[in-house]
């Protein structure tokens, strides 16, 4: 349970800051700090157990179908990172409290920071590959928010976007790689994956999986050639940089290397890819750290360089190298966080980070100078500090690597060159900023930062010294446990001490320090050399690529999506034609093996009428009402066809819908022009006729081919089980309300939503109402013809009776909720037609929206009800009852479901038609009014 606390407390912490206002900054910071502090205490309580070898784990099943579990673990590796994240995170919270200015929205900042911390903790504690990836993507997102925190600055926005694009794409690659691993191993469970190294290495999918995972790790850890996003991310507020680029974000990549080290490492591919990338990155970063002029950019490139160093160590396939890598992760986090904070202090107090303007700050801020000097010395690998220890281990490991075979000597040489550069840029950072004369052109007079702002730096500097002086006491325990988790076998015995005697690594360290000093002294030559190269701005290149992409997509949109429905239709139809035409060409003969039934004369007449009416609908379309009448003929014929081919339910539905559609279209036609102007060009008409003919031909051929081929239907199941399983004799209805009840539920929901959408669309719609028909005749003054009014009123009870009859019998005879609902709706619409909206509203004193919604609710509740009895959703129960006059009625829960269908259909149909009728608001001339 405590594992969950560690992850969830910071998440809770991301909500807490918003409780406090921006003005009460102390309160806000305290609230924020409380949660990670508790989480840190929880972690510390677990620490002795973990160091003793326990691995607390926790797992809930989340989406078993995807292999996704909410599984957490706290092994040594996780512990190291959790302590770093929480510890440095707390210091950052304190620092940010004093760093942020009054104008910055502090609660928002803390909320983002806590969200980021949560996702980072999730990564390091995840015990499931997919879960790990989820948190991984969360860090990309939350770091986007953090880097772009000063969203009014263009650089912040662009830097954030670049970071998101690069790490996000890497994240997708990582997902693909992890899925491949999951496929190879058969599970996403972390422990199983870590134990299956032999299986993974032997699988042919190992290389692609490795490449994809490394892509994810390298983009996150800013390895060459993806290093460019990290310096751009320096547009973030300094606390963010200090957190993201020391202990967290970029460490996620190297964490992943360490985490999957037991499963993936050991192959030649791993050795070359990882260690050489790390080596190149180390040199590249170190070189640019020496060249750059902005304090934070210098630190950013040094971070790139150190990450390269760690990556190289993980790549060396040596156990001690892994230990060294982990040790350097710890050390780098401490000194780099501290250095970023000193850079922030300088920026905060002097208003600039340009190394050319800053000089001699030690006069103004001696404490900060001392702290910066200590931590920078650690970065340079100065003895008695922690950086020295891990760097020396690194140098020792490079001496033993088999990499490059006969050229293996190259590795330690290059590593030493990297160390020389590291010493040089560390020296430059301290000397150019804090010493070397007096500051020039500063906007304000610098002074020492407040104590709370220096406190986090002080803490980290002390940690640097403690680890540097007493490594065996302070770091051995946690490093050994962490290494245990990152290695397949127990970690090698670790002898951390300052003095190993005179040996080659010590010599290399000495060369590095002396060489670094010399490079620093001679740096002007290097700068001159560097100026010969044209400067390449990675941001400009990236933004240029983004602009080109945007232009390309804009071009695509403009070309394809020009706002013309006709053109879209054209493309849709042409592609449909192409696809179905192609499949038709694939069959040998159009006619299948089934015997053709003989057509009787009645059928021929019916088909002829249908075809004629269909064509007439198209040809007479410019006279809209006539076209509509022709459409009703087609509808009538279609329902007769359904009746003819043994589908009474369909015939009923088709009839009812056809009438409702005609009423609907006429209601709409009142507000639209009565005739369509002649505007299509002759060539357009020819094109459309050809297209339509082609379409019709394909549909007809497809239909014929289908009809003459034997059918393999699952319907026999429904026919067999309809009575026994669904308790109804009308199989169509049983399928609707029972077998496929879930589909029907979806469909009535759609109907309900359509009705509500229409209600909303009609809201405050004002349309011109013609006062005369298309021939200029004024409308008849007789609003409600008396004969119609009185007769229709007497028809209503009959119609309602019919609909109840159809509804009740629906399960066993043609009928059911859909049809009964439509009949009821039509009967009520007749009242509207005969008596008008006002009359009907007075007598039907209910709203239709609640009816439609309650229909969906009843249907859903019926489904949910079966849960109460321990059955799956929408299981039906039934029994038979005999009701006089109506006959044997089956009362099933399906009936209740059908009632829901009925109510939805009534409600939705009336919602559509009655609301459309109501659009005519003003009173128009009428007989009644004239009399009055």
């Amino acid at each position: 349970m405590s594992l969950l606390l560690i992850v969830l407390l910071p998440l809770l912490g991301s909500l807490l800051p918003s409780l406090s206002s921006n003005q009460r900054r102390h309160q806000c910071a305290l609230l924020t700090a409380a949660m990670p502090l508790i989480a840190l205490l929880v972690t510390l309580r677990e620490t002795p157990g973990v160091i003793a070898g326990e691995v607390p784990r926790l797992a809930f099943s989340w989406v078993p179908a995807l292999g996704l579990d909410l599984a957490l673990r706290l092994d040594g590796l996780s512990l190291l990172f959790v302590l770093l994240i929480l510890g440095i995170g707390l210091l950052i919270i304190l620092y940010a409290r004093h760093y942020l200015s009054e104008a910055d929205n502090m609660p928002r900042f803390y909320a983002y920071l806590m969200l980021f911390m949560t996702s980072m903790l999730g990564i390091v504690m995840a015990d499931n590959l997919i879960l790990l990836w989820m948190f991984w993507e969360l860090t990309s997102l939350s770091s986007f928010l953090l880097i772009g925190f000063w969203s009014h600055q263009s650089a912040a926005r662009k830097g954030a976007r670049m970071a998101l694009a690069v790490t996000g794409m890497g994240g997708l690659a990582l997902l693909a790689g992890l899925i491949l691993i999951g496929q190879i191993v058969g599970t996403f469970d972390m422990q199983t994956v870590l134990d299956s190294r032999d299986v993974i290495l032997a699988d042919p999918r190992y290389l692609p999986a490795l490449l994809l995972i490394l892509l994810g790790a390298f983009t996150k850890s800013a390895q060459f050639p993806f290093q460019f996003w990290l310096p751009q991310a320096m547009a973030a507020p300094t606390p963010v940089s200090a957190f993201l680029h020391s202990a967290t974000m970029v460490k996620a990549g190297v964490f992943l290397l360490a985490r999957l080290h037991p499963a993936l490492a050991g192959s030649q591919e791993w050795l070359y890819l990882v260690s050489l990338t790390g080596l190149v990155t180390m040199l590249y970063g170190a070189y640019f750290a020496l060249i750059k002029l902005d304090l934070k950019t210098i630190l950013a490139y040094s971070t790139v360089s150190h990450l390269g160093l760690i990556t190289m160590l993980f790549g060396l396939n040596s156990q001690m190298a892994v230990v060294a890598g982990l040790f350097h992760i710890l050390n780098h986090a401490t000194f780099k966080a501290a250095l970023f904070m000193t850079a922030g202090i300088v920026d905060h107090e002097c208003g600039t980070r340009d190394i050319r303007k800053l000089k001699g700050l030690w006069r103004y801020m001696p404490m900060t100078t001392a702290l910066a000097a200590i931590t920078a010395a650690s970065m340079a690998g100065f003895p008695l500090l922690n950086g020295f220890l891990s760097k020396e281990m690194m140098l020792a490991e490079t001496l033993e690597t088999p990499l490059l075979g006969g050229l293996a000597w190259l590795i330690p040489v290059l590593a030493t060159i990297g160390s020389i550069l590291a010493a040089a840029y560390s020296l430059r950072y301290v000397r150019n900023t804090f010493f070397d004369g007096k500051p020039r052109e500063l906007e304000k007079t610098p002074h020492e930062a407040s104590f709370p702002m220096r406190l986090p730096v002080l803490v980290l500097a002390i940690v640097c010294i403690i680890i540097g002086l007493f490594p065996a006491f302070s770091a051995t325990g946690i490093l050994t446990t962490a290494a245990d988790a990152a290695l397949t076998m127990p970690a090698p015995e670790l002898h951390l001490s300052i003095w190993h005697g005179f040996n080659l690594p010590l010599l290399m360290s000495a060369i590095a320090l002396i060489g670094g000093f010399m490079v620093y002294v001679l740096r002007q030559h290097l700068f001159t050399f560097h100026r010969q190269f044209p400067s390449r701005n990675s941001l400009a290149i990236f933004e240029g690529a983004v602009q080109r992409l945007v232009r390309f997509t804009q071009w695509g949109i403009d070309t394809l999506e020009n706002g013309s429905l006709q053109r879209y239709m054209l493309w849709v139809v042409i592609s449909a034609l192409a696809v179905s035409g192609m499949s038709l060409m694939g069959i040998e003969t159009l006619k299948g093996e089934l015997a053709v039934q003989k057509a009787d004369p009645l059928l021929i007449v019916g088909a002829a009428i249908t075809c004629f009416a269909g064509l007439a609908t198209a040809f007479l379309h410019r006279r809209r009402l006539i076209s509509l009448i022709m459409l009703s003929v087609v509808g009538l014929m279609a329902s007769l066809a359904f009746a003819r081919f043994s589908a009474p339910d369909l015939a009923l539905t088709q009839l009812a819908v056809e009438v409702v559609t005609v009423i609907l279209l006429m209601l709409a036609l009142f507000f639209l022009p009565q005739k369509t102007p002649k505007e299509s060009s002759a060539s357009r008409i020819v094109r459309d006729v050809l297209l339509a003919a082609g379409f019709g031909g394909v549909v007809a051929s497809l239909n014929y081919a289908l009809l003459t081929r034997p059918l393999n239907s699952i319907s026999d199941y429904f026919l067999e089980h309809s009575v026994s399983g669904g308790g109804g004799h009308n199989v169509v209805n049983v399928i609707l309300v029972d077998f496929r009840g879930f589909d029907t539920l979806g469909e009535i929901t759609v109907l309900c939503i359509a009705g509500i959408g229409i209600y909303k669309l009609l809201n405050r719609l004002r349309l011109f109402m013609p006062s005369s028909d298309s021939e200029g005749r004024p409308w008849s003054p007789d609003r409600y013809p008396m004969i119609l009014a009185s007769v229709s009123q007497s028809l209503l009870p009959m119609a309602l009776l019919v609909s109840v009859f159809i509804f009740l019998r629906g399960h066993n005879a043609p009928g059911g909720g859909f049809i009964a609902g439509l009949v009821t709706a039509v009967a009520l619409i007749l009242m509207y037609i005969a008596h008008g909206v006002e009359w009907a509203q007075q007598r039907l004193s209910f709203q239709y929206q609640p009816i439609a919604v309650s229909g969906v609710a009843i249907a859903t509740l019926t489904g949910v009800g079966s849960w109460a009895f321990g059955y799956p959703f929408l299981t039906s129960a039934f029994g038979h009852f005999h009701i006089p006059l109506i006959g044997d009625v089956e009362l099933a829960t399906a009936m209740l479901f059908d009632l829901g269908v009925y109510l939805t259909v009534v409600g939705a149909t009336l919602m559509i038609l009655a609301n459309l009728g109501k659009v005519t608001t003003s009173h128009r001339p009428s007989k009644q009014k004239e009399k009055a």
């Binding site: 102007p677 011109f768 005369s772 005749r777 119609l788 007769v791 028809l795």
Partner: protein, 133 residues
């Protein structure tokens, strides 16, 4: 018993034939008559009668088949007989409203058709001559 069946069969057949002939005559009238007012007669009266006959045949047939009175078709018949006049009334009302031309030999001069100065018939009427509100 067999005689009764034969008799009933004859009755049913008679109703069927009679009904369909009525319906045909009604539709023939619809197709052949000279103006709308004449055409209205056929379907609204004779066709309804024809369908009524067929429904009677159906009642007789199913009564015979089920061995008892089967009156459900009566519902349709009642429905038809109530609604047919109403639709005919509405149709004639709209025809009068539209001032449809009538055969010159028609006797009587209904009020609705008196100011018959509109030269254009329905189908050739120009589009868009309605006045602005």
């Amino acid at each position: 018993m067999i005689a009764l069946y034969t008799l009933m069969e004859g009755v049913i057949a008679f109703f069927l034939i009679a009904g369909s002939i009525f319906a045909l005559i009604g539709s023939l009238g619809l197709a052949r008559m000279k103006d709308f007012y004449m055409r209205l007669h056929g379907p609204s009266k004779i066709s309804t009668l024809g369908v009524g006959c067929v429904l009677l045949a159906s009642i007789a047939y199913f009564s015979l088949l089920n061995g008892g009175p089967s009156l459900q078709e009566l519902l349709i018949t009642i429905f038809l007989f109530i609604t047919a006049p109403v639709s005919a009334h509405l149709l004639s009302k709209s025809a009068l409203h539209q001032k449809l031309p009538r055969d010159p030999r028609t006797r009587g001069n209904p009020e609705e058709l008196q100011e018959d100065d509109d030269e254009t018939t329905l189908e050739e009427a120009p589009q868009g001559s309605s006045k602005l509100p």
